[in-house]
């Protein structure tokens, strides 16, 4: 069984793992068998024989520059570098000899002669490979004079007091790490990490020989193309690139493996600490989602966890125009329970509900929906996935039989044609974006369908083969036109369709889609996409080998969001691209646990495991487990809750880790709904925008302060581990339990592992999941049960979950949101790299260095006719409302389209967005709003009133002593 133990050992093996037929060799007398293509260095490391090295790292291709890893090979002349020498059958290698030792000492001596000897006060002391190697090779003296008058890179002045022209000052422009050229040994690891791992190519080596320097090609790191992913810092063997937190706090002494709480990639990290002080977050190399990589959010943006804005004491108030009163947990929970029960007595059982969070753990989400179903006695539970991926649930459920994304992230390594629709992975899912770029550099083709020229369309060493720059709101027309070309040009994979799909439904679909009205030439007037470009893209996708579709909220957040998802599923089935590696339909989920919150029964019509509440058998399972009757009627979705609140029939809400006032569309409607409620309970880290309308505030815990699991976009269930005690006293799952018990429940969970046991017991796709299994395997992808004890990396391998894949007719219907004389432009919204969602976390970190405010991207032509110049304040108005922000002239958007982000509450892009929504799921149409733009003098009256109200409602009276 030992083979199944996850490798907790983080030893660097020197060069990447290879797969190939076994090769047998002997190293220092030990017999070793490794796959063909493996380096001698890695083979030795696998045998426990570590060869000294400086420029090698197992996440980078071998480079062979440091000459420290030299070995002797029988029958060969000289001393080859073990990192660049592949093994061969029968090879006999010596890693140690007097000659090798002498050579290595010589190499180290040269390195050290141009390196400062300030080890004791150096930030990397104890975590420095140069120091380690000096020790390993037995360096005892440095004969070469490193005196200041001789040329070197580390002394600021020579002995006569003249400045040393070779010395360069430290660059501390990046908020999170420093670059100290005086400590650089020019091993190239940072440059290669930036290229190979991150794919940004921000770093290079300037000069030759002694003049070689790491360069960012700009004034400093901050001004450069650097995206602050941290890969170079991690790669650096010395203190040249060093986290500022380590400089300040010292080298961490312990680490806990956990999961990032930002986007849906779900990267594994080592939280490195001293005591309970978090020193740094380092991507964990065995994490199967990220394979040792990270982005600026997960790696560095954790400072919000001890930001002074965090609220650590429960608070209550009778009315929202009163200041908050700090109280004990007991009093707050008693107050909340009494109010909620009072509301139910006065207005009925269905007058209250919950909103679960895609930022909280599976266990926490499960408890919140259980609170609604088992304690409130209704199905009024919804989650923020309503406003992002609910159409994925509906669309893929209808076509494939399950809402699950079909692949794991590793699958992209086998993809030949990547299609990205309405997603911006390099900003919103950066670590997966890097893996995608790596595959593109290896030669995969790329089709981007997006109204904006996103980075993937053209950036360092990658370019889209086809960019379909459509008008916002015409996704269905474009996707149908692609299908039209595939069917009418005879490119459909009929053998696959006959075997795996319903043939009759296909025939009726083929007839529908072949109609001339779906042709690229006919849809051009709607979409603005050149018919030739569209035809070429369709041919590439249908004939280019393994085709994989990745999509995001640019697909779902439309009136026809669900229809586009079905259209995407049609495209994949038409071309035989479901059911193996390298293909598939891959929804990129926005938040860390969107997948999990949906799995856990957050939706008002579904119990955990996507089973409709109308099913008596399913209800029976939970009735038995919970000992209560379950309402067979669906509950209210978020927009319906707000409508019901305005109608006066919905009066109480428990909202965990979600800021609906900032993130949901049509802010004025949301605030009217919240204002109409009698008890709003906000459970969060900060006094968020929704809390302006709350009566009870329960302090939340960060992902560092609790145990649990997150499920990422590839259905991977990853452990979240408590690295420090909850700062407010309770983890979020404990708070929900306390609230439930205050309302009369009798819950006795003492650890989230018990909640997972209950999930496994009641939900077939989780039947094989337990904390023991996760401890043993590291992570698993659901379904994980008796049939799939190791989880399921790929879905639909032996046929679709629903039996036969189902083609669904996808007629394009224009959204009601139309441009006209008053609102001639189309606004679409999105994210940028450094900020996350409503910004509650990232705005409270140094990430704001990169993005301090939301700006409006507008095409220079549209700007010119309005007299708008770069940086001007502009008024952005729709039929819902108006706001003001600064303009940024950009050709990323087409004429007629403007774009902004929604990271900052003082802009409130959602004042502008309308209440139109997806026909099937009520997912809001964030991505299309007709607007007008004009010059303004600064913030609008509404923004000023909003800011004043927010300030008023955030007053806190200290607790009575």
């Amino acid at each position: 069984m030992k083979d199944f133990i996850i490798p907790w050992d983080d030893k660097d093996m020197g060069t990447p793992a290879k797969s190939g037929k076994p090769v047998h060799l002997t190293i220092d007398g030990a017999k070793v068998t490794v796959p063909e293509g493996t380096s001698v260095m890695r083979a030795a490391a696998e045998a426990g024989l570590d060869i000294p090295k400086l420029c090698a790292s197992d996440n980078l291709e071998a480079f062979g520059s440091c000459r420290l890893c030299v070995v002797e090979i029988e029958g060969r002349r000289g001393t080859p570098a073990s990192c660049t020498t592949p093994v061969h059958e029968g090879m006999v290698v010596r890693t140690q000899s007097e000659k090798l030792q002498r050579m290595r000492k010589g190499v180290m001596e040269l390195y050290i002669s141009d390196h400062p000897l300030d080890c004791l006060t150096c930030a990397a002391n104890g975590d420095c490979e140069l120091q380690d190697m000096a020790g390993v090779v037995g360096l005892r003296e440095v004969r070469y004079d490193a005196a200041p008058e001789k040329a070197n890179h580390f002394a600021t002045r020579d002995t006569s007091g003249q400045p040393n022209p070779e010395w360069l000052p430290k660059d501390d422009s990046n908020p999170y790490f420093t670059y100290d050229p005086s400590k650089c040994i020019v091993c190239n690891r940072c440059v290669r990490a930036c290229e190979e791992v991150q794919g940004t190519f921000a770093l290079t080596i300037e000069g030759r020989g002694f003049d070689s320097r790491v360069s960012v090609g700009a004034e400093n790191f901050l001004e450069s193309d650097c995206v602050s992913c941290g890969a170079c810092v991690q790669a650096c063997p010395t203190a040249t690139l060093q986290e500022k937190s380590v400089i300040e706090m010292g080298v961490p002494q312990r680490s806990v493996v956990t999961t990032c709480a930002y986007c849906g990639v779900g990267c594994s990290f080592k939280a490195e600490l001293n005591g309970d002080q978090l020193v740094r977050m380092v991507p964990w190399k065995h994490g199967k989602a990220n394979r040792g990589h990270s982005c600026v959010k997960g790696r560095f943006a954790y400072g919000y966890a001890d930001h002074p804005d965090r609220i650590l004491k429960p608070m209550i108030r009778e009315r929202i125009d009163e200041p908050w009163q700090e109280v004990s947990w007991e009093e707050a929970l008693g107050f909340a329970a009494k109010k909620m029960r009072g509301i139910q007595e006065a207005y009925g059982q269905k007058s209250i509900g919950v909103i679960t969070s895609s930022r909280c753990t599976n266990e926490e989400t499960y408890l919140v929906q259980k609170l609604a179903r088992a304690v409130f006695g209704n199905n009024n539970t919804d989650t923020c996935a309503r406003v992002c991926h609910s159409p994925t649930g509906y669309g893929l459920g209808q076509t494939f039989g399950t809402s699950a994304g079909t692949q794991d992230f590793d699958s992209v390594e086998k993809t030949d044609v990547i299609v990205v629709i309405g997603a911006n992975p390099t900003d919103a899912h950066p670590v997966f974006g890097s893996r995608m770029k790596k595959r593109l550099r290896e030669g995969a083709k790329l089709i981007v369908i997006d109204p904006r020229k996103i980075d993937l369309v053209k950036s360092a060493h990658i370019a889209a083969d086809h960019h379909l720059q459509l008008r916002p709101g015409t996704n269905v027309a474009v996707v149908s036109a692609l299908a039209h070309v595939i069917v009418t040009e005879g490119l459909a994979d009929e053998a696959y369709i006959r075997e795996r799909c319903d043939w009759d439904e296909y025939l009726s679909y083929a007839e529908f889609i072949s109609d001339e009205r779906h042709s690229p030439e006919a849809t051009f007037v709607l979409t603005g996409v050149d018919p030739d470009v569209l035809r070429a893209a369709a041919r590439t996708f249908a004939t280019g080998g393994n085709g994989a579709i990745y999509y995001g909220l640019g697909v779902t957040e439309h009136s026809q969001g669900s229809t586009t998802v079905m259209g995407i599923a049609n495209l994949a089935m038409l071309t035989g691209n479901v059911g193996r590696e390298g293909v598939g339909v891959n929804p990129l989920r926005g938040q860390n646990n969107v997948q999990g919150s949906c799995d856990m029964g957050s939706f008002p019509h579904e119990l955990p495991g996507y089973r409709h509440v109308k099913g008596a058998e399913v209800r029976e399972v939970f009735q038995k487990a919970w000992g209560v009757e379950i309402d067979p009627e669906p509950g209210l979705r978020i927009p319906n809750m707000l409508d019901a609140a305005v109608d006066g029939t919905f009066k109480g809400l428990y909202c965990q880790g979600e800021d609906i006032l900032q993130s949901d569309p049509d802010t004025k409607h949301v605030s009217a709904g919240l204002a109409a409620m009698e008890c709003v309970i906000v459970h969060d880290l900060f006094l968020n925008e929704t809390a302006n309308y709350a009566h009870v505030f329960l302090p939340g815990s960060t992902f560092l302060e609790k145990d649990g699991t997150f499920t990422n976009a590839e259905r991977r269930i990853n452990r979240v581990r408590e690295v420090m005690a909850p700062k407010a006293g309770y983890a979020d799952w404990e708070v929900t339990q306390l609230l439930a018990n205050a309302m009369g429940a009798n819950w006795h969970y003492t650890h989230p592992a018990q909640i997972m046991e209950e999930i496994a017991l009641t939900t077939p796709s989780f039947a094989g999941v337990s904390y023991d299994v996760l401890e043993e395997k590291g992570s698993v992808q659901w379904p994980c049960n008796e049939a799939h004890p190791d989880g399921t990396p790929l879905m639909h391998v032996d046929g679709f979950v629903r039996g036969k894949g189902r083609f669904i007719v996808t007629e394009y219907v224009a959204t009601e949101e139309k441009t006209g004389p008053r609102f001639p432009l189309l606004l679409t919204t999105g994210r940028i790299l450094s900020q996350y969602n409503v910004g509650a976390q990232t705005r409270r970190t140094e990430n704001s260095t990169w993005h301090q405010e939301d700006v409006l991207e507008i095409h220079p032509h549209d700007a010119e006719v309005r007299g708008v110049k770069e940086g001007d304040w502009v008024r952005l108005a729709s039929r819902s409302g108006e706001t003001s922000l600064r303009a940024k002239l950009s050709e990323r958007v087409s004429p007629g389209v403007v774009y902004t982000t929604f990271h900052h509450p003082d802009t409130q892009a959602n004042v502008i967005t309308t209440d139109f929504s997806d026909w099937a799921t009520n997912c809001p149409e964030y991505k299309v709003t007709a607007v007008q733009v004009g010059l303004s003098n600064g913030p609008s009256d509404w923004q000023e009133r909003y800011a004043a109200q927010a300030e008023q409602s955030r007053r806190i009276l200290p607790a009575a002593e």
Binding site: S508, P634, R637, N640, V646, W919
Partner: protein
């Protein structure tokens, strides 16, 4: 919810089912409302239908007979 918004939502759903092949559009539309519309919404729906159903797509009106009437609250 205003009758206008409710009408718009119902018509949007009808627009999809009208494009689907087969003669069971009304049943499928009704099944969608039964699955996803909370009883309060269905009560408002029936209030509007019973009042003549102004603005509702004919398919919605046809579907009404298959929509489950919520029990009186």
């Amino acid at each position: 919810m205003s009758p206008e918004k409710l009408t718009m939502m119902a018509n949007q759903i009808a627009t999809f089912f009208k494009t689907q092949p087969g003669a069971d559009g009304a049943e499928r539309l009704a099944a969608h409302l039964n699955d996803f519309w909370e009883p309060r919404m269905r009560a408002q729906f029936f209030a509007h239908v019973d009042a003549g159903g102004a603005g509702l797509d004919p398919l919605v009106l046809e579907a009404a007979q298959f929509v489950r009437r919520p029990a009186e609250a």
